[in-house]
Amino acid sequence: MAVLEQILKNGEQPILKVVDLHTSFTTDNGEVQAVNGLSFNLNPGTTLGIVGESGSGKSVTAYSIMRILESNGHVTQGKILFNGEDISKYSEKQMADFRGNKISIIFQDPMTSLNPVYTVGNQIVEAITLHQQVGREEAKAEAIEMLKQVGINDAERRFRQYPHELSGGMRQRVMIAMALVSKPSILIADEPTTALDVTIQAQILELMQELQKKYHMAIIIVTHDLGVIAQMADEIVVMYGGRICERGTAEDIFYNPCHEYTKGLLKSIPNVDNMKEKLIPIEGSPINLLNLPKGCAFCARCSKAMKICLEQVPPELRMPDGHLASCWINVRDNNYIVDEEAAA
């Protein structure tokens, strides 16, 4: 039904639909629920930001979609629909063909994601020949063209260089070039600029926006940085303790947050307006995933927590402005509208 609604709304079907995703890790200390019932839609050509702090499950979500979790992690429940097809049912072989072809990913640390013993060009050519039936020479020409596309000057020379000869920003550009060789419909960027300096971060973010327009690809950007999210994202998913807090358009989340965690987060960051005031922090410590509470993941740190928050997981409700939030306070204050299609 939600799909139908999306079609009616946007005239376009979401390219990626994640439904009730659960991912857990088996560790020495027991089963860790890293992602717990996450759902979201990604529309073609738009950017979805997944924001949360360490341990919120934001990166695990990205890895679950790509199926590149560590060996002790596994998706236990849920669907990952790419153009309506459930890729979580794919075999390893199908998945290998799919990865880097339809969806690509770039990581936080471009140094460790490039192989230090091969030249940059070699690695891009490798990525091209993996998914396309082209000759070596053709692939090389394409690789150099790709390097130019990501704003690397002197591409022929860079082609022959090794990763350690490049700066951090340059390496991230190479990673992006590699991710885009097969013109994927979705690019997942896992903390793509966290390891970079602000001036370089600005360059990379701009590049990503430029390439998005050019290739009409959808981007999922995973980050803890609200500034990056504000600049990049059309829609935002806020996560805490493996659960979804709130999702909606960037404007809804930033200007009308309806979950106590999102509200707290926005108040706790320094910005131009609150320079002279004390920051209002969220008290307490991040959640221990081994010891998830019965109710809302955020309840222990929430200043407005109610008895029910400790006992029951809040339902996801549609806010009057149309975005979705999972907070019991909205139920108490009757601050929601009934979504007939979703309810049915």
Binding site: D28, N291, P293, G295, C299, A300, A305, K307, R332, V338
Partner: protein, 355 residues
Amino acid sequence: MSEMNAPKKNLLSFQIDPASFEPATDEEKQQAEVMSESTSFLKDGIRKLMRNPLAVGSLIALVLIVLLIIIAPRIVPYGYEEIIRVGGAKDKTITNLAPFAWSEKEQAAIAAGTKLFPHIMGTDSLGRDYFIRVIYGTRVSLIVGLFASILVLIIGVLYGAISGYKGGRVDMIMMRIVDIIYSLPDVLIIILLSVVLNQTLDKGNPVVKLLGTNMVAIFVVFGLLYWVGMARLVRGEVLKIKNNEYFLAAKATGAGSWHIIKTHVIPNCISVIIITTALQIPSAIFTESFLSFMGMGVQAPMPSLGSLANNARAGLQSYPWQLIFPAIMIVLIVLAFNLLGDGLRDAFDPKLRRQ
């Protein structure tokens, strides 16, 4: 359960008790936020070790072997150098018996009603009880392994820690010395040393007499040559610790070198030291067995597992068990120590820890 107050045009109404919308107390909230049980690094490591079946099995095997070599000589009435006599008389048929077999005279004695202790592993070519010889051989091998490893531990840790902590030129020179020692052929050195020591050591010295000059040579060689591996590892670890900010933090508080070594460097090296020592023991046992096999080990009649195996070579086709028993013992000990060492590494090495 009452209906939500003031339900607007609610299609799906929440059947919730309004009381549950009262603010939760801090106490209630705290219950939701439990800190996991306190564990020290050591406790956590031991817990992980205990969950590794191979390591636990090895540990049990080693404990059993140690108990065996302590208890067996008290129970078995034969000595390791004693040629067995029955009723005070020599017995020609008592040589090279199979396990649990009796010689003719013994059979006669048993028939006469005397109780005799069985030869669990038979006897050797001189008519000595083989079981007790294997037990003593194991004793020698374990003691050699242990002491050689302690020697390596002391020299290696001190050398490596000083080299790593001092750094710069001191480190450079100390490590070049290590490189030179690494390049010396150890077997050659042992042969040379045992020849030299044979001539110079005081034969009247009871320790030398018991062990034999070869054995002393083995210890000296371990002390001189084998510590280099340990020294390198400890140095590397110290260099890593020096890179940690807590090292700088201790300096920033004004702590002196000795305080830093004592409170920060050594405790953080300890897991590497334990693991390396656990792996050093089997290697020392192996070396000793190998040297004894080559005839450069303990002095006869004192057996070691290596020399037992060597003696058994002659009658290999007729009495294969004389080789099999010491060989099994060596394999068992070396394997158990190696598996235990691996288990210790998995449990204590911070690099392999997973949250």
